[in-house]
């Protein structure tokens, strides 16, 4: 059986697909393969932070979003789904508890996330410490404006604080996958991988992570150098071995 992954080798992969759908599909297949290779039994995973101060049932709350777009389609044991609770009485205790639960589960095996137009990972806004842990963050104006469309374009309704895992928390993961699509993210991707590690573009911290994958579409590469794009596109035959064949729980 052909080995489909080289987890032992330190890598930074930039996987470039033609469009949003293909990028999503590639990422989904990769995650699926990784889950099966993990041989899940007590299957734990985490999602990132959610806006504070919102009633849980608000349509824009992370709970509702995750339920309607993910949880209702899968048969996970609800006890194994951990979301940072923005309604907790003691937010600091909630953050500490989250870090502890990660440790108890054996650490994060695969972190999956996107980036903001300002290059933030989770809600680690520009200026965040690159060794930060799970904590309460004040959101940057850019983020608030970007989220306004979910709140009827009324800026006063957009939450200003959020709980979030820290950059350091994500750096502790065994593997990091960042999915970046769309031209509006192109500059952030450029800053993330073609410039130096900089706390103003927190996702750049992953240049120092031993095992990172960036999955993007053509539009997201618009600010990269042609040389960079050609290099990584030339590696697609290697990258595609990670998703082909798509594994099944019935295998082995």
């Amino acid at each position: 059986m052909r080995r489909t992954t080289s987890t032992k080798q330190d890598t930074m992969r930039l996987v470039i697909l033609d469009d949003y759908n293909l990028a999503s599909e590639w990422a989904a297949k990769y995650i699926r393969n990784r889950i099966i290779q993990f041989k899940p039994s007590a299957n734990n995973f985490f999602t990132l932070g959610l806006p504070t101060g919102l009633p849980r049932a608000h349509p824009e709350s992370y709970h509702s979003y995750m339920w309607n777009n993910f949880f209702k389609y899968i048969d996970i044991d609800p006890a194994n789904a951990h979301i940072l609770d923005g309604n907790a009485e003691d937010l600091e205790a909630e953050c500490k508890s989250y870090e502890r639960k990660i440790a108890e589960a054996g650490g994060i095996h695969l972190f999956v996330g996107g980036i903001g137009p300002d290059g933030h990972i989770a809600f680690n806004e520009p200026g965040s410490s690159l060794v930060s842990r799970t904590r309460v963050k004040t959101l940057a104006k850019d983020t608030i404006v970007a989220n306004a469309r979910f709140f009827g374009n009324d800026l006063s309704k957009v939450p200003t604080m959020a709980l979030t895992v820290g950059v350091g928390t994500v750096m502790d993961a065994k593997e990091v996958m960042i999915v970046i699509t769309g031209a509006h993210k192109a500059f952030a991707l450029y800053k993330a991988i073609e410039e130096g590690v900089n706390h103003m573009w927190t996702v750049s911290a992953f240049q120092q992570h031993p095992h990172t994958i960036f999955v993007c579409d053509e539009d997201a590469t618009l600010e990269l150098r042609v040389k960079t794009v050609k290099y990584f596109k030339g590696l697609m035959h290697v990258h595609n071995k990670l998703v082909d064949p798509v594994l099944s729980v019935k295998d082995k």
Binding site: P78, A79, N87
Partner: protein
């Protein structure tokens, strides 16, 4: 951490692979039920960290709220207006049979009868929940005797009544009916002297008042609505025809004088006989949200052709037509509720959701019970039906329990 956990240990059922009617459209969603009520799965997931105990595969079926029939005179040989010593046995028989047609709640209807019949029959009919034994009884529909002699239809003229005076309407009502316990609906003619007080008195007691078997003009009808009337009994039948200078009761569908925040509903017998499909379409297009499908089914429903007894009169059945014996006067119908839903959809070309709501949501709204019946909203009673794409009933559930399922040997 979830903020609160429920304390219920009751089993949770998840119906999957179905399209449910919610928020006025069919959605590819699962239906969750616990303790006879529709459950919010998101709350279950996050607050209780619970999941389903049993799953039911619906095979791609449509899941709609159970049908509610607010005008049904009997069926399967049972006539609710008959002075029987064991009325409840008749109610039970019909309630059981109605499950096959997707009806989960109904209002047994009594046609115009002499007081002694009401005094004997009414105390034997109680509001009760449905279940494996049959559809639930929401209350009695008293159609008459305070109706117009000119529009009596199949009602026996000798038992029609009027009010003796504006101050005595309650006494008249009590004298005739004997009591208003377990009464959900009363049909009366608003042009009768004193009827506006009757409308008020009945509405104050939580009874829904319907206008029908009447020669009222639009003003008289509007006045009755001002006093609380909210339904029209079998629109077009037993009332003056629509006239462009006085639309009569039919004009309520587009009247500007309906009090704010209130709605007028109207029953339609969509059996293809009582109303021409063009008339059905006109009514539907004029006021789609008010349309309530009713069967007005009589004792002969479910029986074969021939002569049968209805109230105090004899009727004759030919095919789907039922006449007062020896005349051409229609005497109720023998179409079942699911047949009416199918015919309504076919005749009006409406969306599936509209056809289903006319038999579930609208009657529930009419009776003021839409918080618990007539929808699949979270917290509602889990009374629902599984239908195929042609809207044939495949299975019926009451309080989340399957109470009827179509077997391959079942005949239409």
């Amino acid at each position: 951490m979830p903020s609160n956990k429920s304390v219920s240990e009751a089993p949770i059922t998840q119906l999957l692979n179905c399209r449910i009617l919610r928020d006025h459209r069919l959605q590819n969603e699962d239906l969750w039920v616990r303790e006879g009520k529709i459950l919010d799965p998101e709350k279950l997931f996050f607050d209780e960290q619970a999941y389903a105990d049993n799953q039911v595969d619906c095979g791609g079926a449509i899941v709609a709220p159970g049908f509610i029939d607010v005008q049904i005179n009997g069926g399967y040989g049972v006539d609710f207006s008959q002075a029987s010593d064991d009325v409840s046995a008749g109610i039970s028989l019909v309630a059981q049979k109605l499950l096959e047609h997707g009806v989960t709640s109904f209002c047994p209807t009594l046609v115009t009868s002499p007081p002694h019949i009401y005094h004997k029959v009414l105390p034997q009919i109680k509001v009760q929940d449905g279940g494996p034994h049959g559809a639930g009884v929401l209350g009695v529909h008293l159609e008459g005797p305070f109706i117009s002699a000119k529009k009596k239809g199949a009602h026996p003229e000798r038992f029609l009544r009027t009010f003796s005076g504006p101050d005595t309407v309650m006494a008249d009502l009590m004298d005739v009916y004997g009591g208003l316990d377990n009464v959900a609906l009363v049909t009366l003619a608003p042009e009768l002297e004193g009827s506006r007080w009757a409308v008020s008195e009945l509405c104050q007691r939580g009874v829904t008042v319907s206008l029908g078997h009447s020669v009222a003009n639009l003003s008289q009808a509007e006045e009755a609505v001002r006093h609380g009337a909210s339904f029209i009994t079998h629109l077009f039948n037993a009332m003056l025809p629509f006239h462009h200078r006085d639309p009569g009761i039919v004009g309520l569908l587009t009247s500007e004088h309906i009090p704010a925040g209130r709605s007028v509903y109207y029953g339609m017998i969509a059996d293809g006989i009582h109303t021409n499909p063009a008339a059905l379409r006109i009514a539907h297009r004029a006021h789609p949200k008010g349309l309530v499908l009713v069967t007005d089914a009589i004792a002969a429903m479910g029986l074969g052709p021939g002569r049968h007894k209805l109230g105090q009169q004899d009727v004759q059945i030919c095919g789907l037509h039922v006449y007062v014996a020896g005349t051409q006067t229609l005497s109720g119908s023998i179409a079942t509720m699911d047949m009416c839903v199918r015919h309504f959809k076919h005749a009006t070309g409406c969306r599936v959701e509209e056809a289903l709501e006319a038999a579930s949501l609208h009657p529930a709204q009419l009776l003021g019970i839409s918080q618990s019946k007539g929808t699949l909203d979270f917290g509602s009673h889990a009374d629902f039906v599984l239908l195929d794409d042609e809207l044939n009933v495949k299975a019926t559930f009451i309080s989340g329990q399957e109470v009827w399922r179509k077997t391959t040997q079942e005949q239409q």
